[in-house]
């Protein structure tokens, strides 16, 4: 019988795994409580997952529409909780709802042109007004031009301030996937921003020469 307390692995790894497992269990308990009509449990889930949902939406829809859609996602999730068989998968399940909601948003807004390109641009420019606003919009646009997996992960990291382990735990992705998405996404973003700067410098130089 193993009676020794000398265990495998570093304390840091154990702590990470423990924390992830504990959070998963805690999610399960919260979900169960919500199913029983517990409002505070639902609010706890909201606090825990709002940033993730916000980031996923921000990678797909105009900034001005994101806050309302975050609430929509949670409101849509609540009555469907009963269909969630494995409550420990709540994060991945909610992320899927958020992605679907973003797709619905584009489907619904297309015919009415409620959020036309111009409206989007105006809304976002307004949101990004102030010091560094223009630069932030350029960066956000650059991230949105990346492949889906990269832009979502990068927004969660750079905008929402989540760490890689948090992103993995919340979205249900593996640590390896998140690492690769962050690394490759960042590499592509650097290239885009460098190209953009080069093009901008070339445009400015051309303009100055013409003057």
């Amino acid at each position: 019988m193993a009676t020794s307390l000398e265990f495998e692995g570093s304390l840091a790894d154990c702590a990470t795994v423990n924390a992830a497992q504990a959070k998963e269990r805690e999610d399960g308990k919260l979900v169960q409580a919500v199913k029983l009509g517990d409002r505070s449990a639902f609010e706890a889930l909201y606090r825990r997952y709002a940033r993730m949902v916000h980031g996923i939406l921000l990678s797909r829809v105009p900034h001005g529409a994101v806050e309302d859609l975050v609430q929509d996602v949670f409101l849509a999730a609540l009555p469907q909780l009963g269909s969630l068989r494995d409550v420990s998968r709540f994060g991945g399940w909610l992320a899927a709802i958020a992605r679907n909601r973003a797709m619905d948003f584009h489907r619904q807004s297309r015919p009415s042109a409620e959020y036309s390109e111009e409206a989007e641009s105006a809304s976002e420019n307004h949101a990004a007004s102030g010091s560094g606003g223009a630069e932030a919009m350029v960066i956000l646009d650059a991230i949105r031009s990346l492949p889906e997996a990269y832009r979502e992960t990068l927004i969660l990291r750079l905008v929402e301030g989540m760490t890689g382990p948090e992103i993995a735990e919340r979205t249900g992705l593996t640590h390896g996937s998140v690492r690769v998405n962050l690394h490759r996404g960042m590499q592509m973003l650097r290239e885009i921003l460098t190209e953009g700067n080069t093009a901008a410098r070339a445009r400015n130089a051309k303009q100055r020469a013409a003057e």
Partner: protein, 381 residues
């Protein structure tokens, strides 16, 4: 090392800051973070409509509870017995609109508020702030909203402190109650003069003596017993004493060896010398069976230094620590590790408590109305 692993390792080394914000900040990443922070989620909690949180019916909750296989058989027995008792002894409750809980007399003449329950009037309503008092030959049952039932033994005094959707709270000033609750964990709370009992889905008996000391015995599920940061978890078949001024003692199974139980009294509430205390601990450790790991787990946080090391060693002999639990972590009372080890006892997932302890029951409720209620009782008599 495979190519993928090598690449992943390389990525890890070069991107620690990008990965988890540790290490030397990558200037470009930091610049992007700063620029993009304005798009971050506002962290405001929206107003969700109350109607969304309509609670499922008692029947729904009952059947959900039944899905927990370990509780099913006992729950059925308890509920069947409760149903029989209700059918036999409790007349149909009036459909009053006053807030409060229905009380049914079982025998004698209990006092509810200022009203004596006699033979001609066997039912009453216990309102928030009122007390139910049973004398030496009277007993009564309280229907705890729609979440359970409390039977009040002779010689008891119970006050209804709170009755809201999220929290049902009574205070047991003295005497004995038997509670059978099928609410979500943490919803039903009992204050006593020396500890607060938080229902975690269970049936239990709680006794409070004239000096405020208490004893809790769990018959189904488990109960959290706490005061001033001192927590005890009492699973089915176990009991836990409590003392005014100290709080809950160390829980033990009812069939634990007598020497172990006696030694626990010394450890929990005694004022013995260091030598006697050490001897008591030796007795506990030597007498402990595998199931008494319940007791040893609690002793980890109630001992210090060399005593804790002895407890930890014996605990590991009885229940090998699961992966992720280290000796150093346990000795410094690392909570996630202690929780992991608790879960290895298979007595119930402690995360239930970790979640519910954030909102419920702070300390025991002061007996604010006690004197006033006593005067009322005297006057009524």
């Amino acid at each position: 090392m495979k190519g993928g692993e090598a690449m992943s390792k390389s990525i890890e080394e070069r991107n620690e800051y990008l990965w988890d914000g540790t290490g030397e900040p990558d200037p470009e990443v930091a610049r992007l973070e700063e620029a993009l922070a304005q798009f971050r989620h506002a962290d405001r909690l929206p107003e969700f409509p109350e109607a969304l949180f309509a609670k499922p019916s008692v029947i729904d909750r009952f059947f959900r509870l039944l899905w927990a296989p370990r509780l099913a058989a006992t729950a059925l027995t308890v509920l069947a017995a409760t149903a029989c008792a209700i059918l036999l002894f409790v007349p149909k409750s009036p459909t009053g609109t006053r807030p409060g809980w229905d009380v049914a007399r079982i025998e004698g003449t209990p006092l509810v508020g200022t009203k004596w329950m006699g033979g001609a009037d066997p039912k009453a309503k216990l309102e928030v702030g009122e007390a139910l008092v049973t004398n030496g030959d009277s007993r009564a049952t309280i229907a705890v909203a729609d979440i359970g039932e409390v039977e009040v033994e002779p010689g008891s005094r119970v006050r209804l402190v709170q009755s809201s959707d999220k929290r049902k709270r009574i205070a047991l000033d003295r005497g004995t109650i038997h509670a059978a609750i099928w609410a979500p964990p943490g919803e039903f709370v009992v204050d006593t003069p020396s500890a607060v009992a938080v229902d975690l889905g269970c049936a239990y008996t709680l006794h409070v003596g004239p000096d405020g000391s208490g004893l809790l015995r769990t018959t189904l599920g488990w109960v959290g017993f706490h005061l001033n940061g001192r927590d005890s978890f009492i699973p089915a078949g176990a009991m836990c004493p409590t003392r005014a001024g100290t709080g809950p003692g160390t829980p033990y199974f009812e069939d634990a060896p007598e020497p172990l139980r006696e030694a626990l009294k010394t450890l929990d509430f005694g004022t013995a010398s260091a030598e006697s205390r050490s001897e008591a601990l030796r007795t506990v450790l030597s007498q402990a069976r595998k199931k008494d790991a319940l007791t040893l787990w609690h002793l980890l946080s109630r001992t210090q230094g060399e005593e804790r090391e002895r407890v930890c060693k014996r605990f590991a002999e009885l229940v090998p620590p699961p992966a992720g639990v280290t000796r150093d972590g346990v000795l410094r009372l690392d909570q996630p590790m202690l929780d992991l080890w608790w879960n290895a006892l298979d007595l119930g997932d402690i995360s239930i408590w970790r979640f519910w302890e954030q909102t419920p029951a702070s300390g025991a409720m002061p007996a604010v109305k006690q004197e006033k209620d006593r005067a009322t009782l005297k006057k009524a008599r």
